[in-house]
Subunit: 342 residues, 4 copies
């Protein structure tokens, strides 16, 4: 049993983390901080958690998290980079949901996130928490940069391809679609019900922040340059990401076998049988990514379709998976949720 | 550990039952029948269940369920009444999701359901499975009539009132709203996405089948006649029922205290703090009913708002709760799901 | 052809008004003001209006509206009461979407709206713009208080009943359900897509601001006190209100005939044939209210179901209807939109 | 004023056609047939049309459509090919919503639609009704094959590119997303609310019937072979298609200018200003296609985003546009609807 703290528990990734930790047999959540909601009972803000949490949110300034073994930052970009070091120095492991420690190249990070990085040295130490790539490094990490939601789905859909030489690495296309919860629990007009419901749009067409994160991961896996066009879209649903990835085949192989082999033994990556057409609800509330491969009309374009729950494998679930690895628990502990369907 | 069979596992209450049983430590599901899907792997029809079920649907005719200790009928009205006796005779406990055994007065049942009842004698023995009323009888029941979804929410909202004498029992109004999954997984135009989405309507305005079921329960609890106007509505959401119940106060009391006392110790009825405005997502995927009491503008009309997940407390979850009681398990076993929010 | 100005055109009632006025043959919109969007082209903020409006929003301070014959205030409560008089003094007719001039009793208004009224004298002159009640007064009005969305639906559902003596006026119940656009285009967490979608709730259970407005209208129509319990609910759809009204019958009559007679000749009130179960999409985008009458199980409770589009008959459409009356145009001019279904 | 008949008016394209024709000043609808609903008043099946249509559906067998000048077939594939000739022989112009006359190559058509074509000779005469390509031929056509919904959006997004030589014609990708109304008003489980809501999926991954239609149009425009990967997706919204098209630039040009020039003067194609991110609701209920061009991160992939209302420009609106052209009316007559937003 470990003591766990959550910094910034009022967003969607925060409440999802609390949902998952409530079912985790080796975790006791001892503190949940929030600047705006300090003093409010967690179960008052999120009545779905009634009977599961007696805690109230506390002010971050007055909360000592050093008695925790693990602290999750479910905060906006720019928070964890200023606070992680103090916790690490006291022997606390830190898992950060934000982008603060995801990009190894500081100038790239600063260009995309438009602030100066507060702790570049820590970035070097941070482990990018995609277990399917970095499991061994996560095991010994003090500081884990939990991947972005799109970045998780797109990388898992492309890893077997960029690690080998069967498609053109220079002309990859990832057309991704996300439910609105991916935009967070922020009071913004664009994500009002009356704006986003019964509607569909592409966004970030000039370029999205997950682009450098995906390219970093794929380039590392590939060992060479990656050319990726990534366009995200907003779907009128709450949870779920579906990524449709297009790759030009340069060198035939049995792609189904390639994917099955690459992800054999992975507890949360499910390569579906040939012909499957995955739906986001197949993973709603669970930590699984499900992937299907297609060759429309038998052409030379490979289409990979991957679905995940953006709040689970795309955020809080993957964070728990990383915590399990880093603390030597069974990797699937507390992550046995069956997807909610319908 | 008991062996469990499911008859008719292809509807929404069926797949929800399978989701819940997958997490139940004392249950092994050994057979799931379906006339239409015999031979199909359960996890092929419902990929959300991949990794949880290796079974395929089997044809009911060729499936021997007598080795099960408990059989659930997740079938349309009219099926269980013809098949329950044979199983009971072999010592199997039967929990029926349909209306076949809910109404004690056979002519009333036949008038509403428009067929002749196949086994009126069994109706007498059947126990109406609302644990908050009939817990002790459920404990020893062989045959449990699992309540209807609306009937569960409306009865729980009204029980403390009809058991006492503080409101006019003759002029109760229950304005109920249900997500579309309540209509089942049937190929019907009315419940197509393009018909039901971005739309709202009342239905069954001439009278709904849950009316006699609710009135039977409330009359029994009250010991006198009940006058109830019940109007259901269709909400463009998948799961959830919210019932808004109006009662004319005839005799003041502390209604909050009345409800809290009535449901003290109930594991799945949550009387919310004064001022709460419950939302269906506060119980999405969980077996809880949450109830709030209001006096708009301090008037003499009491408004009770109750929310449940129609597929859980309104169907499969309540069935598992009944099974737990009938087999002497902890009543909450396998029912610890935290609601999915958002 | 008249010149029309719109104050505060960036909300949902504003953009809906612009949609309707674009199709109105006797109107030229010459100014649309907005503090926040001054300088922005109207068709940039609302690309649905491309090709229909060349105007940009202008700053209210620098915009002279006195050359308009008619000015609509599509502003939050508290704006029109400070600005209407200056326009009226210059001979401009004013139609206010807000609640500023709806309630004749100033203390009541101030209690509900929590500010001091800026121009109580004008309230006396203002005509409450429900044409089905006040058509003749609207004809000669300088200042029209456009009714609230719930208030329109509930009053039309109850008028024939409170004007006669067939139901108990003291125990009326209006259970109303609205799409989320009724909450406006405001950056608030409660109406985010991820909060309101796949969810249902009651709100304002302590009392809603439309309550005094409805009671004022019904009391006036009835000539005696009205006892009304009014509970609004939030439906996960964009547009539409459905009100389910319950009245205890005290004195039998042919209610269908009563309603048909009351609304005979009304261009926008459609009393549906017996047995109809109205849906909000039957009026989506149109100025019609459609009403059906029911007697569930033949009991002594009359159930009236009324549907309207909250942004049309509940706001902008009714405002155009009032403008048509006040300027002597055909009352239906520019309001011939066929509802969008599906 | 012309007399118009509608064959098969009970689907979504049928009711949408009726909505549009109700507002058309030069059309009198004299017959609407339906096998299943013969005898039912049109306004009973579709109460949104109350006050607009007095007609009842009539049985096709007993309905003489030869007194109409124009007959629309809003029927499933396979109906019009058997009935069009008889009407043409009597001088009636026919506009077919189905795929029966869209594909010039009969074996290709038969392979995709899996039946023998009943009237191959008529296919030769039929004009493919995409006015932006075939306006002059439509003007004199007797038989117009109204394009498919996806086919309209994708062709308009690609025409300026395939007519010139700035992108690789062999590696085009069209990732298209459609609202559920595109699947029609058919009682099928896959498009139930509870299946399609709060969910997202790709479908027809092996190949979709609009592929040969799109390729035929683009090849003709290009004069050479086209390589297109086309993947459709199902969006939980009622109306709307958004197509995201990816093209590899081989030869730089000013693409914004290229599109603006190509569609200059087109009444229903709106090339948006640079930087626009179109949303389906910008065209909800209107006949416009709106198109935006992007170069994510300034790379060498051109991304074209096109939105249309699948039931209007993707079906009934385009049919009315074709009728207007074929009968010499102003092309925009009856098509002035302002999109419904929100």
């Amino acid at each position: 049993m470990i003591k766990v703290g959550v910094v910034g528990g009022t967003g969607y990734t925060g409440v999802e983390l609390l949902r998952l930790l409530a079912a985790h047999p080796e975790v006791e959540v001892t503190a949940i901080t929030s600047r705006g909601e300090a003093g409010t009972a967690v179960a008052k803000l999120f009545p779905s958690l009634r009977n599961h949490y007696d805690l109230a949110f506390t002010d971050p300034a007055g909360t000592d998290l050093s008695s925790c073994q693990c602290v999750f930052f479910a905060t906006p970009n720019g928070v964890a980079m200023g606070q992680a070091r103090a916790l690490l120095d006291k022997g606390v492991k830190v898992i950060d949901f934000s982008a603060d420690f995801r990009i190894q190249d500081i100038p790239t990070w600063e260009r995309w996130y438009k602030v100066k990085h507060a702790d570049p040295a820590l970035v070097k130490e941070a482990v990018y928490g995609l277990p399917e790539v970095n499991r061994e490094r996560v095991r010994n990490a003090r500081l884990i940069a939990n991947p972005g939601c799109y970045a998780t789905a797109v990388q898992l859909a492309l890893l077997p391809l960029v690690e080998t030489h069967h498609v053109d690495h220079a002309s990859l296309v990832a057309d991704a679609k996300s439910g609105v919860s991916g935009a967070g629990r922020k009071a913004e007009v664009d994500i009002l019900f009356s704006e986003a419901s019964d509607n569909f749009k592409a966004y970030a067409l000039a370029g999205h922040r997950h682009h450098p994160e995906i390219v970093q991961g794929l380039s590392t896996a590939s060992g060479k340059a990656i050319g990726l066009t990534f366009v995200p879209h907003l779907v009128p649903m709450v949870r779920g990401i579906l990524a449709t990835v297009y790759a030009r085949i340069t060198n035939e192989t049995d792609f189904q076998a390639l994917f099955e082999k690459r992800f054999a033994g992975e507890p949360f990556v499910d390569v579906l049988p040939p012909g499957s057409q995955p739906e986001t609800r197949w993973v709603r509330g669970s930590n699984h990514v499900r992937i299907a491969l297609h060759r429309p009309l038998g052409g030379n374009t490979l289409v990979v379709v991957a679905v995940e729950d953006n709040l689970v494998k795309g955020a809080a679930g993957q964070a728990v998976q990383n915590m399990n690895i880093a603390f030597g628990f069974d990797e699937t502990l507390g992550l046995g949720q069956v997807p909610l369907l319908p």
